[in-house]
Symmetry: C2
Subunit: 326 residues, 2 copies
């Protein structure tokens, strides 16, 4: 674990504990099976990054209520719901090193428990009694489902452009990060300027986070990742490191890369060849550079806030996004 | 088509046309594929009963805004979302005589478009700016997913009790009908007494509606039904007519009925034998009698409203529930 991660975890220890309690207390299912499956996806080593961002964003806006931890569950339940559905959509087998829910309980149950978590998330959003908050949460869900559909439509196609990739990660990841931070400004009654700042911080952080996530598929190993390396490609998902390299490559190299990508059963050696070719054309480096720029934008957005311990942590989280497993 | 249906349709013609327009206008997807699939499930001959109940309930509460048609889409989008997910859960093949969405576009897309419609529904609920309305819509979704999960858990089991059946249909159907009518009272600013009355009307109507729906599986034919007759049993779904008959039967007859039910590939003759045995023990008659009682309760609940054309239509809809294809 990196020093930065250690440092952040020490600083937010109490918040994380309170978030964990809130996640337990607000789940509230009528059926044991729902509880069991929801708990499988919720309590299996998630980073709690989204609720944590929500709690810290509320604090930097001087939120003075008692419901920030409760409201932070909105974003973890929503995240868990999409994980349940996405694992099914992607026909994934492992998530954080564990078998995915649909492989244990079947597709049907995974769909329905996902629906339950989605609804639970919106019920808690309704408790804020702020229509803007509820609208944001509903719009996040609309965006995420469309981002996933867009990705699904492009599955296996080698002509996904960088622009389309950016639109997909905006919809499936960045809007959730953005909403998480923005909702905190709203429940705190913060001025528009701070709402915009947090919204920008979350959006840019989300883009960077997804880029790094996509990059890890080409730089990490399965022990760290908790899922198969090269899983994105095996699912027919083209991400920025590959998109950039394919575009930059000469004809001969591009044909070789495309051959490997098209063959879903590529060997470890094929994958190594692909990674070497991507490196030759700078796909990984380009993605890292872009992610670094988005992290820079995220940090810049916080300029409107005066210095504080909370601001420090939000800046550290932005930096951590880049270093997490590169 | 029954006379009553003709009469109702003539009276609500303009409302249905306005609902249809609202369903078109508020769908608002970014992607053609989402639009295509959402339209497949939304515009394939649905009765629009839920939005119609919403519009009529608003009218009987003297609602004087312009958004009743828009808000009524909440319940049709929500209904369509659950149909997409339920068809997948039930591995159905036909819906209203058409191939189901997941058989055309695949499970993954059906899941995600269902999520989109669910989110769309809640976005429109947020536009009411009434936290109670949003909470009701979110709670309906929680209930419906849990009702479906409950049903799924009991799939193929022959020991479902009448009490459990009632709980399942409460969650998966009645809470939506109830919410549809109750939300209208809320957006109209109606007094508590009228809110309760409409809530009771919707709840009782929903229970009766589902009972009749379940009964049709044993009394109708596939042309009228738009899906296979005996489909519930083939999906391992025990409903009231069977539950009641199994409980009332003597050992010999019960064993014969169980044998037919357990064999998912039962023949047309087996199914006829089963229906005859159910008739012998009064399962169909009992279900019809109960449905009639719930319809009676629904109509009684409207007593607080003075006589009006709108009240007449709501009473007729209750009666129609019983006669629709019996």
């Amino acid at each position: 674990m990196s020093d930065l991660k250690h440092k952040i975890l020490a600083l937010v220890k109490d918040d994380l504990a309170a978030i964990e309690t809130a996640l337990e207390e607000n789940l509230n299912p009528h059926l044991d099976l729902v509880s069991q499956i929801a708990r499988h996806i919720l309590f299996s080593g998630g980073k709690r990054l989204r609720p944590l961002l929500m709690v810290l964003s509320a604090r930097i806006c001087d939120y003075n209520g008692n419901y920030d931890k409760t409201f932070s569950t909105i974003f973890e339940y929503l995240h868990a719901a999409t994980l349940l559905h996405d694992d099914l959509v992607d026909q994934a087998t492992l998530r954080r090193g564990n078998p995915v829910a649909h492989s244990i309980w079947g597709n049907a149950t995974a769909v329905l428990v996902g629906d339950f978590l989605l609804a639970r998330s919106l019920s808690i959003a309704a408790e804020t009694e702020l229509p803007d908050v509820i609208r944001i949460v509903a719009e996040i869900t609309e965006n995420m489902s469309q981002g996933e559909i867009h990705q699904l439509m492009k599955k296996g196609s080698l002509d996904l452009t960088e622009k389309e990739y950016m639109e997909v990660i905006r919809q499936k990841t960045a809007v959730l990060f953005q909403g998480t931070c923005r909702v905190s400004a709203l429940i705190s009654g913060a001025p528009k300027e701070k709402e915009t700042a947090l919204s920008d911080y979350g959006f840019n952080l989300g883009i960077a986070f997804q880029m790094v996530d996509d990059l890890l598929d080409y730089t990490s190993n399965s022990d760290i990742l908790g899922k198969e390396v090269g899983a994105d490609l095996k699912e027919g998902k083209l991400t920025l490191p590959v998109i950039y390299s394919l575009k930059a490559a000469n004809t001969k190299d591009r044909i070789q890369m495309e051959k490997i990508i098209k063959n879903k059963d590529f060997s470890v050696n094929d994958f190594k060849t692909l990674i070497a070719l991507m490196k030759k054309y700078g796909g990984q480096k380009y993605t890292e550079k872009l992610a670094r720029e988005y992290v820079g934008n995220a940090k810049d957005a916080l300029a409107v806030f005066k210095n504080s311990k909370t601001k420090e942590i939000l800046l550290m989280i932005a930096d951590y996004t880049l270093t997490r497993n590169l």
